[in-house]
Symmetry: C2
Subunit: 370 residues, 2 copies
Amino acid sequence: MLAPCIRIPAGTVHDPPMLEKSPHSKVTINDVAEKAGVSAMTVSRVMRNQGKIAPETRAHVLKVIRQLNYEPLSSARNLSGAYSRTIGIVIPYANDFREFRHGYEYEYALLIGALNVCKSHDFAVNIIETRDSNDVNLLVKKVLARQIGGYIVPAPASEYLDLLKTLKAHKLAFSTISAHDQTDSDLTVLADERTATQALTQKMLDLGHRRIAFIGGAPERRASVERQAGFLAAIHAHPDRDRIVYALHDCTAFFDDGLETGLRVLSQPQSQRPTAVQCLTDDIAAGVIAAAHRLKIPMPEGLSICGFDNFGLARKLSPALTTASLPAEDMGEAAALQVIDALEGRARQSVTTLPCKLVVRESIASAPLD
Amino acid sequence: MLAPCIRIPAGTVHDPPMLEKSPHSKVTINDVAEKAGVSAMTVSRVMRNQGKIAPETRAHVLKVIRQLNYEPLSSARNLSGAYSRTIGIVIPYANDFREFRHGYEYEYALLIGALNVCKSHDFAVNIIETRDSNDVNLLVKKVLARQIGGYIVPAPASEYLDLLKTLKAHKLAFSTISAHDQTDSDLTVLADERTATQALTQKMLDLGHRRIAFIGGAPERRASVERQAGFLAAIHAHPDRDRIVYALHDCTAFFDDGLETGLRVLSQPQSQRPTAVQCLTDDIAAGVIAAAHRLKIPMPEGLSICGFDNFGLARKLSPALTTASLPAEDMGEAAALQVIDALEGRARQSVTTLPCKLVVRESIASAPLD
DNA sequence: CTGAAAGCGCTAACAG
DNA sequence: CTGTTAGCGCTTTCAG
């Protein structure tokens, strides 16, 4: 996909803008100190809001910093400081994705969030690719060597107990995202996937659907557990619950498996076939939609479908998919914030839970009359 | 979408693996020097393959390095070295993407490639978000301050002439990806999008299509120009060219615009309506597919469609989309390699052109008989 | 071919 | 509340 153009101000194409003043703008902390008539240490303290500084001194230093456009050099800070101002985000080995290209949207969204927060706190983000448990040692080593200050550990890595236990044993700062079991991490970010899934199911029930399938769910994943629980909760809470027929179908979180499972589920005689299919992920839903097209089942009249995640895919499917948004960017932000707070000694424990919004599109409709 | 699980070796869940030896494994260059009986300087030279070292000394130092599992600390290198071992990849301001979530796959694929190469050369990658021309100064400043060594500048930033001119004027190391105009950069990575598009069109013609529309194309983008040129080349080279009816429809590279344009193009009377639509991007193709579904045009029997890019989306559409793969990961690798070579004084000029593979799926078929 | 000295820019630890 | 003194781990520069 072509990315959108950067806005180009008209008429400047032939004048490459020049830098403000000095040819090599490497303003150091000493330049600031000298110009402000204080010691470098005072400047350092002002930069980091640390220790007690007289308000006037502080204001003056701040002014000089702005005048000189001073920015501390992260390498120097990392080298001398107690911890590295770089946060690692632990992501599965990307080359595994490469062959199939099944989508990097979850990862990139997390990254954007983390980047956002880190930028404003003057931290950097490093992607740490993880292949298996042996990499845990590497993670620890990077912190001890002050290569990395702390980690963001999103699912699926956050489901890896060894990893969490080891990080914890070494007292590293790390925040898990969507961890299956949070007992091993003091900092955690979660999405309320259960409530959103329940609302989605509720919507199906409101539309009159009484034969509903739920497709998805490796049980070792928090997302699977929570989303399935939401589905069941909606059904069990319904006054009509005894007349609702539902089925749970296991499959991985991906398209191909969704297609296969979809074909199996939808090939049943029409009187038994579900009129609504709720999927663990949009990827699975895309597979089910493909299956329905292949079986010439009209959507949404003959079959309602919904998914979960709402990355780029959902609205590009036909019919456009009803789903719930996983707020991955916000989750990345929250996790980065937790790690930074921990490193700077501001908080030792914290759980952030974010809501998931419903996104209703054309893939659902009233249940067909039998 | 749920990411795939990291492989968890069985039976290790309750034994968090411990680090090899020392509690704080920060092996420094001095540790290596001492153990090897040489000076730190010699170790440094061995690490960087620089200067002339006696083969024996070299081998011995290398052995000790491996024994101690020594890894140089990037912050220290950046601080003392002539350039920073961090490469910046210039990407549009991600929060612009956030509202629409139209997909981050191109960016992430580039990133993966860059990461791959950087890791093996012991460089880091930093994402540099760019909003507009003012950020150019920031880019230059970061290099002068040794925050960043050099840049990868992929489209769309590589279409921004001011940016390129400024980087060049400051003699920074940077490699453009898919630049519209390469005169301002000595290092460039391109994909042969023209040939692939031509092959795609050829395929349509071979299938008997004689009324073909090409949808897409902001002319300031290299991808637009090259892909459209490929389309026209195929038609003009065809023996039947005088009986081929084609149309070029402009639109942005995205889904919504593709849908709108698709509706317009396909709403024509059937005798005039194209039997094949070739799209600038898979995103546009998804829009056209949605339009065709809405107009109840059967695919591929009544309409053949193809796109370009082959990220996650293409195979998840119904019908699965025929397209060409933009080798974004490879392009990211190639660009990173060029920048690293330039920084290390190995090459001053270089153009790498990568092929795009065709991916035939179910969205194309023989032209319907009129 | 190898080494010694000096310092990159910043902050910890300790003094005032 | 502020300053001084030492480095962090590596590479540059200049001598052997």
